[in-house]
Symmetry: C2
Subunit: 295 residues, 2 copies
Amino acid sequence: MIFKDRLAQVAKMVEASFSEVFNEIMCQTPPRLLAAMQHSVFGAGKRFRPFLLMKSAEIFGSSSLMSLRVAVALECVHCYSLTHDDLPSMDNDVLRRGKPTVHIVFGEALAMMAGDSLLMLAFEILADERSHPDPAIRSRLILALARASGACSMTGGQALDIESLTDIPDEADIMRLQAMKTGALLRYAVIAGGIIGKADESALFLLGAYGDAVGMAFQIADDLLDANEQGIETGGSSNRDVLLKKVTLVQKLGVDEARHRLTFLVDEAIAHLADFGPEAEPLREAARFVITRET
Amino acid sequence: MIFKDRLAQVAKMVEASFSEVFNEIMCQTPPRLLAAMQHSVFGAGKRFRPFLLMKSAEIFGSSSLMSLRVAVALECVHCYSLTHDDLPSMDNDVLRRGKPTVHIVFGEALAMMAGDSLLMLAFEILADERSHPDPAIRSRLILALARASGACSMTGGQALDIESLTDIPDEADIMRLQAMKTGALLRYAVIAGGIIGKADESALFLLGAYGDAVGMAFQIADDLLDANEQGIETGGSSNRDVLLKKVTLVQKLGVDEARHRLTFLVDEAIAHLADFGPEAEPLREAARFVITRET
């Protein structure tokens, strides 16, 4: 099976699981709030984070079915962050993956509440014994997710993002910001897979190093895509990252050097998996896939 | 010791614990985000929810020190909800307890991120083994908090609140909305105390019934205060609840009938504690305190 088909297979599982989760909360959730949450979650998302989580768990013998609910919780946090990021006071984006953003369809207040609700839903799913029978594992998954998403990581990165619009950041600032804003949740994906599979500390360390490299590569690939789109004048969404000339690594290093960096990071990510056997092949493919996003 | 002193004692413990928590995350959190979180949390809050939680846990022999971190997590969620509620797209409040609201001081984007970060911090605290040594208890506390705060409860209530501005709700609608928006978190406070103290199912049921009655009483007392302030023209914060003539139980029933209802609910709350001994006295006092708020 080629990588894109594997990814699509996971995406299908994730969407089916999301439907089940929404069915459970449907009767007690105000209909428009539920619709806003569904708008945030369903769409053309690649489900790359759930893929990393489920394939990481498989390395340690935990099946996709065992890790699926944890992957859905992670995707809830990812979708919450996009929905809040798109709001007028943040990036003010009107389109995401070709669809109007949540606040365009449902208004700002409901978009914020939908994001908040998805965040709560993530922790509700993780704390439920159906996600993992061992409460010690559930607690660890929750602690790691809260840390990867909170003030020291993702929301901290989003806050720095706002600050960086007045100061010009240097390369180290950009890398720190991106590690917090994008990297931490990608790192969590592979770490969580390891936690589910009861990986030992050294395996978790390697997974974390892989996750960090993939996270950084992912962001550079994203910036290269943006730079490319900017060149061909898509005239789509009003992307503040571009409009306000927010400095990315691509702008800092130039397109060629950024491409070298991307290749280097992907090789590094794969090298961190050297101790794992063929069962880690999906994660190696995922790292390579990050490069192909550029084209 | 009179009730207000007991309440002040808990508030002091909660604020000291908050300072410790912020010290731990300080070096990795962007300074302005940290300041916005602190602005949201510190102030003239009565810490009524932490009080209920800690005194509920004491009924079952769990000391204040054992329940303090859980109480702080709960207060994080409460403060997050106020910070998001105050935003221009929601209630558009510029003052809270005499202080400018978070978005007035730090801007909308940072206020939203501060709320998000407090929410994550709540789950980070709860999942930490320092909050309770038993991971099964931690998972239960997290599951119950996520449910009390999510789309089926608090954020659901906030979403309904927005809807109710176009339709005129009847008495049952108002009670349902308030149970979701305010009641669920007050109910959680006493239930969480019971979970920490390993209360049996029948004790949890009674605590829940007490929490429901106190929650409803609390909201009526709040609405009576608002009605009173409106009468004397404070000219303070632009309270949308009043400006947009949002229908409260006080408006629906009239002040006198609402006062009767309040007294009835407080008696009911206390009656639910009949099976508990003198160790439940602080919760009985808390219920009586809700009435005195009116004056």
